[in-house]
Each structure stands twice: as structure tokens, then as C-alpha cells.
Amino acid sequence: MREVRISLVGFGIVGHGVLEVVRRKWGLLRKMGLDMKVVSVTDINGTLFDETGIDPQRLHAARTLEGIANLDIIGKEAIQKVDSDLVVEVTPTNIVHGQPGLGHIEEALSSGKHVVTSNKGPLVVAYNHLQEMAQDNGVMLKYEATVGGTMPLISLVEKNLVGNEILGIRGIFNGTCNYILTRMMEEKYTYSYALTEAQDLGIAEADPAYDVDGIDTAGKVVILANSIFGMTAKYEDVSVTGIREITPEALNLAWERGYHIKLIGEVPALTVKPMLVPRRSPLAVGGTLNVASIETDLSGTITVTGLGAGSIETASAIVSDIVSIYTSRQIDG
């Protein structure tokens, strides 16, 4: 049985999801030979540490660690001081400077700990630098959850399509935009009405700019460009148009002519813009779904779709990454 001591940094929606998935899948993980223990949880209030593994039930109802933390350390200090094998970094994302996640990941990698993250910011800002750090320290950095949530994309390309040349990837990488456009088309809602509905349902943030202006999608385009296409793209290299100008009339007109309008991100073109998607295209998925078509030289075009966000869904991608780190290591050994 391989013991995996995990430090969870960030205790929001995704952090809760990770605790829940590790709890639910504990038996299955043991069958795989992994004894996964979350030994610490850190947020801005402090760190809860238990070397025997934190009982997720204990944190189930807690929104923050206020009054629960038993160590007065946060951030990089917590990563450095807690004895663990792997850091799950799930703090809020910032696509401009990548902090605080960037500092957390750097600290973890330089301390010889594997990192699994759903945090786009650090990867958008410093993907190549972080991968070099991981390599220099003999550890792995996995980030499947940063692009398309639960939809397997990075691992699909790296494992299942290995040997193929990837010619391009295009897809819908933001469930919020897809939801808004779907509702506008189906119900003839205006953009602002569909947005308020999405906000009421918790699908869109109070400040929706990050999603509807295409910033989030552009971040994912940068991650794909650097990780799969070996580019050195920065956020500024992406040409970005959001969905604010789309009208229900335009959606209706497109529909009559056999098209949807979707916010499409493309690599290596580095574009994010609303595009006409034929109604019968595999990219024409509705609601909050994400989808990606991968064009390859040998396997043709492969399309995957799945939920792009959500607590348990994102956590599932994180736990898959953790498992893959240890299962691929077993093969190496």
C-alpha cells in the first residue's frame, strides 16, 4: 500500500469537492494500492493538520477554517512546514499575476512535492517555468482540471493519442457562456436577462466579466497552447471577443439557417470569438457543457464533451490526476 499524504491549499467549492471525492472513493483508491490521506487543509485563516488524515465529515459543514485551524500558518509557509507528498492547489484564480497560486506551486515544487491544480492563473502566467521546476525537482505538475473541468482533454492527448501529431484543438471551454447563449436561443431572452438567470442559479459570478468577455476561455487557450503545442503563449497573445454583443435575434437568425452561435476557443490560432457552429456539429452542445474537438494527423478528429465546472466534477479531475501520478510512477519503477 502506497501512502499518499496530501496538503490541500484552498478551501472553497473545489477544495470541499476534493475532500468529498477522497472520502467517497477511499475504498476504490485502496484497491488501486493508494492510501490517500489529506493531512492538511489550508485557507486564509490558518491550517488544519492531522497526520493520520483529516476526517472530511469534520469539515463538511464548515465554509472556512475559522475556529477550526490548529496551526497558525498559511500559504507558502504551510506548504513548506507540513510533511506531505503532494499539494492540491485550489485557491482562487488570477490570470494576470497568477497569485497566490503561483507562489504556492513554486514552493511545493521546490520542496519536492507533486502538485495537482485546478487553478488556471499560475499556468497561464508561468506554465513553462513551472514545468521546468517540476522536472528539476523530480516531481510532477498535473492540471487536467484547469481546462474543461471534468472533460478529459490533457490526459487524452498525452496518453491515449500519444504518437499523433495534434494539428489543432477547438471547443467550448466556458460553461457560463454556453448556458447564457443556450438560454438566449431557446427562450429568446436578452443577454442581460439570461445573465441574471445564470447568476441566480450560481452558474455566473456577480461580476461576470471573467466569463462573458472570454477571459476564462482565453486562459484555457493559453494553457493548451503551452502544454500541448509547446508554444510560449501569453494571455496577451490571444485575440479575444466575448459574448456581450450577441442578441437573441442573431441567435434566432443563425438557428433558422442551421447554426448555433457558440463562444469558441482555438489553438494554435490563439483566438476566442463567437462562431457559427452547424446544428449537427459535435461541437453544438448546449447548457453548461464544455466540448473540444482535437484534430490529429493519424486519428482524425476526436471530440469530447463533459461538465466544465462544479465542485465534485472538478474534484474528480483532480483525483484522477493524483492517481495518474502514482500509477505512472509504479510503471517507471
Binding site: 442578441t247 442573431a250 437568425l253 443563425a254 439557417r257 462562431m275 457559427l276 456539429s281
Partner: protein, 168 residues
């Protein structure tokens, strides 16, 4: 009526001028002439594509005139636009001179706006236009989209292109 004709000329001086003669005689209005002297057919003839506007009743006269002068008429009268694409424009489509927008495509000679639908929800509201563009080839479709992108930037219109128009 707009028509097109594919001809094959002998590779000798004066043939191109001679092939245009009947268009003048039968009052055809030539829109474009594409002459591929460096792309000969296996027979050694030179392919020429002519697009023109004419009263369709005169097309047979033109064909006869050409053939009497030893020019091979490979194809005549059929639509030469073999590729098509769809584009949606959002913004002040009409008040930014829709006629001019369409003309930017039509005036190329290799592409045309063949179909147009408009939605105008209110005077101050942005309107939407669906355009179907046909062109002589894939490359020309690409050029047409590029023209529209340019027009969109100039007239502050959101240009929504189809995903199949360009490779990933």
C-alpha cells in the same frame, strides 16, 4: 443575368483578344477574366474563365462565334461559384451602409453575396444580418471572410464566422 464560361485557347498570340470579341458584339458585360497561361491543359491549350452579364438568349451566338474561330468552349452558363459559406453580422448593419458591405464582396469578381436576411428589433437596437457568400473556391471564401473582418472592424460590426470555413 450573370454567366460564366470556361474556354481553352491555342497558345498563340492574339487568341485572348479574339475570345473576347463576341462578348462585345453581343453586348456582354465582362466582369472578370481569369487567364492561366502558365497552367496549360494536357492538350497544351490555355484555360480561360470569363464571367459576364448578358441577355441569356445571346449565349448560343457567343458559343458559335467562339467555336467558329477555333476556340474550345468547355463549359458555359453554369454557376461557377462552387464554394459557399455563411456569416452573421451584428451591430448597426443597415446604418453602416449594408449596400457597401455587400459590394465589397461582390466587387471582387470571385465571390458574391447570394442571400441576405435581416433582423431589426428596434431603431436604436443592434440589428443582425445573415449573409450567404458563394465563391469560386476555398481560397476565395477565405479572402471574402478576410474582407468582411476588415469591414467589421471599420464599421464596428461583430463578424461571426462559421467553424467549418477555416481549418483549426
Amino acid at each position: 443575368m450573370r454567366l460564366s464560361m470556361d474556354l481553352e485557347l491555342q497558345d498563340i498570340p492574339g487568341q485572348l483578344m479574339q475570345s473576347l470579341e463576341p462578348f462585345k458584339k453581343y453586348k456582354g458585360n465582362i466582369i472578370s477574366v481569369v487567364h492561366h497561361r502558365d497552367r496549360k491543359t494536357p492538350r497544351g491549350t490555355v484555360p480561360v474563365q470569363i464571367v459576364f452579364e448578358i441577355d441569356p438568349s445571346n449565349i448560343e451566338n457567343i458559343k458559335k462565334h467562339l467555336e467558329d474561330n477555333g476556340i474550345v468552349v468547355v463549359r458555359a452558363g453554369e454557376d461557377r461559384f462552387i464554394e459557399e459559406t455563411s456569416v452573421l453580422l451584428i451591430g448597426h448593419v443597415l446604418h453602416s451602409d449594408l449596400g457597401d458591405t455587400i459590394n465589397r464582396i461582390d466587387s471582387t469578381g470571385f465571390a458574391e453575396v447570394e442571400d441576405l436576411s435581416l433582423r431589426m428589433p428596434g431603431i436604436e437596437e443592434p440589428s443582425s444580418a445573415y449573409l450567404r457568400i458563394r465563391a469560386t473556391g476555398k481560397e476565395e471564401i477565405g479572402k471574402s471572410l478576410s474582407i468582411l473582418r476588415h469591414v467589421g472592424a471599420e464599421k464596428d460590426l461583430l463578424v461571426i464566422e462559421p467553424i467549418e470555413a477555416e481549418k483549426i
